[in-house]
């Protein structure tokens, strides 16, 4: 192992907290992960030393804030290997990134057209397309999955057709951890000229993301799932696509000139960034990604894979254990059920012992319904988690099960 977990843990102030008198074990990383001092300090520093509105000010504070803001954009562009920082639109999160494209596609989608998604989508990558289809008389088609939780590629092939105007799917499932073969699927879609949008919310902190290699048209993610702040996210889009799409919101920097009769819009990326931007958010997002870079995404994947395998083995030993999502290709997300015990009961007792997991449908209700289950308990790991924490969790889980038996 190339990483020093103790050192990493000491970067995260919240990890030393006690919950119900017990040491916090934070396994709810799929929902949001914790923030290192570097990111927290970045926000404080920004507001203590350089806070200003950007782009239009002639004074130094504004100049410096603008420079830092645009350097953050460059950092993000490099992080996902985009061609240009013009392709990086700052949004407020994955959900907004997806809604932006869904809105801008109103001019592109028509009656009888199809939008293709998959059974494993998060509501944020489902409902925007569903509502767009309602509005435009188009059809939402859904690619099924196998029992293991992999996309059914045979179905996918048969569902790709000239009618499909967009294929939108998750890089990584937030419920099952399945890593979809993004590059392969994108290539299939491109053969028919279908643009591809990837929901990278669960991937950005857990896998190498290279949009040039993937060759997707759009890629979306949130800062708060990548050691960064809440309320900040990214829409990556290929320039020729972004140039052709209509703006989403109006006001502020996205305007070039305006009279009461007409408005000319600014160029990329500003065309899609209305209102005062979240400068602190942009800096802190870049700082979160820098945190990943400093450890190295390869090292992170290796460590999290180790946790995944370690935990999966231990869980499998438990009587009545059912792991939902058993793809050969998955990240450190484990959803499970034990016998017919309700996930809520397990989550509540684990909480008493300081272990934070998520329970429920994880904003992927159709996927949960697909398995005919009431929800799952989900443990999802991040760079600061350890085998010791998993041992403790397994002990706590066994205690809970004994109480619930």
């Amino acid at each position: 192992m190339n990483i020093n977990i103790e050192k990493i843990r000491s970067d995260f102030p919240i990890l030393s907290h006690k919950i119900n008198g017990k040491q916090l074990v934070y396994f709810d990383n799929g929902a949001t992960n914790q923030k290192p001092m570097q990111v927290i300090n970045c926000i404080s520093d920004y507001y203590s030393n350089m806070n200003s509105n950007v782009h239009r000010g002639v004074h130094q504070l504004s100049q410096n804030a603008t420079t830092a803001f645009e350097e953050s954009r460059k950092y993000v562009a490099d992080f996902i290997n985009a061609d240009s920082e013009k392709e990086i639109i700052f949004t407020h999160g994955t959900t907004e990134s997806i809604n932006l494209i869904a809105n801008s596609f109103e001019n592109i989608i028509g009656k009888g057209d199809e939008i293709l998604i998959t059974v494993m989508e998060h509501h944020s990558n489902l409902v925007p397309w569903q509502q767009l289809c309602f509005k435009k008389g188009a059809k939402l088609k859904v690619v099924p999955i196998t029992d293991e939780g992999d996309l059914d590629m045979v179905f996918l092939d048969s569902m790709l057709s000239e009618k499909v105007k967009l294929l939108a799917f998750a890089h990584i499932s937030n419920v099952m951890g399945t890593i979809n073969p993004v590059k392969e699927i994108t290539a299939k879609a491109h053969k028919l000229g279908i643009p591809v949008l990837i929901d990278g919310a669960q991937a950005i902190a857990h896998a190498k993301v290279d949009v040039t290699d993937l060759d997707c048209e759009f890629y979306c993610f949130s800062a708060h799932k990548a050691y960064g702040p809440m309320g900040m996210g990214v829409l990556y889009g290929k320039q020729q696509w972004l140039n052709n799409l209509q703006p989403y919101q109006y006001g502020g920097e996205m305007i070039s000139t305006v009279s009461f009769e007409k408005t000319a819009f600014n160029e990329l990326p500003y065309k899609f960034e209305a209102g005062t931007p979240n400068v602190a958010g942009a800096l802190a997002m870049a700082e979160g990604l820098r945190y990943i870079d400093n450890i190295g995404i390869g090292n992170i994947v290796e460590h999290e894979d180790d946790l995944l395998n370690y935990a999966t083995n231990k869980l499998t030993d438990i009587d009545g254990m059912r792991i939902v999502g058993r793809s050969k290709n998955k990240t450190s997300v484990i959803s499970f059920l034990v016998g017919d015990i309700h996930p809520y009961d397990i989550g509540t007792l684990l909480d008493q012992m300081g272990v934070a997991v998520r329970t429920g449908n994880h904003c992927a209700q159709p996927l949960i319904d697909n398995f005919c289950i009431p929800g799952t308990v989900r443990a999802s790991f991040a760079i600061y988690n350890s085998r010791e924490e998993i041992d403790y969790f397994i002990g706590a889980l066994k205690k809970s099960l004994a109480m619930l038996a």
Binding site: H342, Y344, G360
Partner: protein
């Protein structure tokens, strides 16, 4: 016993537990003893919308007193419901309308009734009060 007395009794019962495990085990036990809602009432009308576990509640009036029955698919939720019902069941509508379940705080379960909790217990309490009010109005007519 009045509602107040029943609450006090529960508080002193729970006072015996030093360990959260004993407390929760007892809650789960209590859930098992709760008068269950008739299966035929487990329908959308009796379902309380909570985020994760499903909760059903029914109420009937007998000799001027309300008899509650309920169920949930999560046993801890069920246990806590049974605490609520222990206190209000077999009471007159007007007394139920005034109940505030303050005892939950004293036995360290208050957060289960917080409006942000994903178990639907807040809506459960609302529904209990609604039933009480409905029967009150009926009586007056």
């Amino acid at each position: 016993m009045t509602i107040k007395e029943k609450e006090d009794a529960l508080v002193s019962e729970f006072g015996m537990f030093d360990e959260w495990m004993d407390k929760y085990s007892y809650i789960i036990e209590l859930g098992k003893e709760m008068p269950l809602i008739d299966e035929k009432h487990k329908d959308p009308q009796h379902l309380i919308s909570g985020c994760q576990s499903r909760v059903w509640l029914n109420a009937e009036i007998k000799d001027g007193k309300i008899q509650f029955t309920a169920d949930s698919d999560a046993v801890i939720t069920k246990g806590i419901i049974s605490l609520l019902l222990k206190v209000v069941s077999n009471e007159e509508p007007k007394d139920i309308a005034g109940a505030n379940f303050g005892f939950l705080e004293k036995i360290g379960l208050k957060d289960h009734l917080s409006p942000t909790r994903a178990n639907g217990l807040v809506s459960m309490v609302k529904q209990i009060k609604l039933y009480a009010k409905a029967f009150q109005l009926k009586n007056m007519n």
